[in-house]
Symmetry: none
DNA sequence: GATGAATGAGAGTTCATTCAT
DNA sequence: CATGAATGAACTCTCATTCAT
């Protein structure tokens, strides 16, 4: 089992190359959204991108690399969005900051929900590359920083849990077809603040 | 896109047939655990099961049906375990019942964690069949009943959220390699009780 | 390329055996009629016949043997029918005899047209066994005898041609969906009598 | 029963593609001639064509499409040959024209008799596509035009019968191993002229 | 004899990837 | 660099036939 190369072949500097690269990624995204990962074949991606298979392989060492790049892109966006929300919440109460960040995360899931869902599944089957892992860590750090800034103990571990439970809740709700985004935001906020308020551990009986 | 048939072909009555059927399912489970769903091919499953491909197809109309059956099996177990936990907690405090149920759910994830993870991913890509959908609903009903029994309002919707956030949290933790099951149980309990205690909605500012 | 055995395995003497044998043949015939030869599998035939595959193989050495037997049966019928028609026409004019025989042949095609068509196709792909070849010869002999009885020269060669052209014409007509059997009989009669009346050979310029 | 696609996948424009396509068709023809349609498998065709299976599937959506294309080719040739014969016979007597056309049709059967026979059988089992149907109609039209040009009543229906009976007679003769082509031509001519001369219908007794 | 579960060679088909043009 | 025809390993699934029960 040789791990497939997941990085793009060359960082395209010229305009035309960049366009080709982007076209490939967008085509892949659209197929993923509309038909799922089993329909994603290199030939089809190339065709939809209006590019020859040969060119596709010029920029990506293989199918997996395209997927990996899509995932990285999504994660990068996520980190950026969350960082912005954290900054915005800098001077606010914890509750407000939570609301801001929860909204940011949700917005993320909602721009292209099918794409996000598909990429998540794919990610679970792909050997995660270094950058993606790093981006996920970064996300938790942002949350941890916010928590620490509000004097919450054990910020890193708590951040892990909050990110995870929000992810679980929002995924399930969106998959179930939830349309009431405001309602969902409030439920997420309730989950987060609840977790923060509850006594940390086995003190109850 | 013709939906593949997900039900087994014939319910084996004789001993030999039942053994074949079980061997196929177990082989599929092992491959799934060890190598992931992309490695699950009908020939491989048959080989690992010590059975011919032909026999495999006698009982399952295709690869998807095997996966679907594994999923149904897992869900059935899950429902049974949870129902037992709910019964055990009948006379207990809410906190204790939550602990019992959370432990039950976790135990479930921990018997064959890789298998559970793999099947979850697969489930997301498969058109869910009626029985699986029903089983998932059943799980939420069990939780909702417990909540209602403790006087919690809006039990169904809350059950949905609790199941989802627990799922998210435990998946992430297990995937991250968490070994401290007691600790994890407490974190789940904290999440659940926190959600229940927190004020339901937009009353905060 | 070992020629497959085309004779039944044993001539069934007991009643039950004969019934099984007949059931298999009838089942095969029905499948052939309704779905064509590509749908004829031994398992399906056995199932439709209400018999186990094992039993089927008790009486027929293989799929081809079933087909061969069906063909032989059809040919035997044909020969009988034609012989009867020839006898009936013994004292009649040539035209009347031709009409009788043409009608007999047509009737044959019309009892189970789809079956006849399917078997004809199959026959062309199967190594013809001795008996079938003999039956075909017999058919031509019957016709030749009638012709000779009416003083027609070169009766054997003419019989060959008449059988062939009638076959071609009736097949095409039936396949084209012709329903007017009387009309078709007359067209066949016209073809036959025309051939008989026309000057035998290259005398024209 | 989903009807298989019978049209080629892409019409090859470049030289290389055209060669591949032709090689596939020729290989299929040779297998058909030498071993019959049951021996025609995609892998074998590709191998015999000196081409990979993948290439085969680039041009033909499946086995059936190859067969359909061969049939179309044969029919196209047939129509061309017959049209030429009809033109040649324009100023001739009916008898001469018949001879020309019969000879043309026979020549057709004789270039690759086994292939023609095999394709005919196959055609009977395949859902006929539009073009083939059209070509068959065209053939009958050519004949009908000639007949009408000689003042024969009911030309279309007569053309149907003549084409069918000639087909039956020549197939049977060739299959029986007839080598005397001139003789066969004369027999066909006799059949055709006889049919034309004979009184059309039930007027005889 | 009858049964039907089991077999496995082999058919059809796809798709990631290469490489001559 | 771009192209897209060609490749072929790998996959899914069928079906004639056998043989333990």
């Amino acid at each position: 089992m040789t791990e497939p190369e997941l990085r793009p072949r060359k960082t395209p500097l010229q305009t035309r190359s960049k366009a080709t690269c982007a076209a490939v990624l967008e085509a892949a995204a659209r197929i993923l959204e509309a038909e799922g990962s089993h329909a994603l074949t290199t030939n089809r991606v190339a065709e939809r991108a209006g590019v020859s298979v040969g060119s596709l392989y010029q920029y990506f060492p293989g199918k997996e690399a395209i997927l990996a790049e899509l995932i990285r892109g999504l994660r990068r966006d996520m980190v950026l969005t969350m960082r912005r929300a954290a900054d915005l919440g800098r001077e606010e109460s914890l509750a407000s900051t939570v609301e801001l960040m929860v909204a940011a995360a949700l917005e993320h899931h909602l721009t292209r929900p099918e794409l996000a869902r598909a990429l998540e599944r794919v990610e679970a089957e792909l050997p995660v590359d270094a950058e993606t892992r790093e981006l996920k860590g970064e996300l938790r750090n942002i949350v941890a920083d916010v928590l620490a800034g509000h004097g919450i103990a054990d910020a890193e571990s708590v951040a892990f849990d909050l990110v995870a439970l929000c992810h679980g809740l929002s995924s399930a709700a969106i998959e179930a077809g939830e349309k009431d985004i405001n309602g969902l935001t409030l439920r997420l906020k309730r989950a987060v603040l609840g977790y923060l308020v509850a006594e940390p551990a086995g003190t109850s009986r």
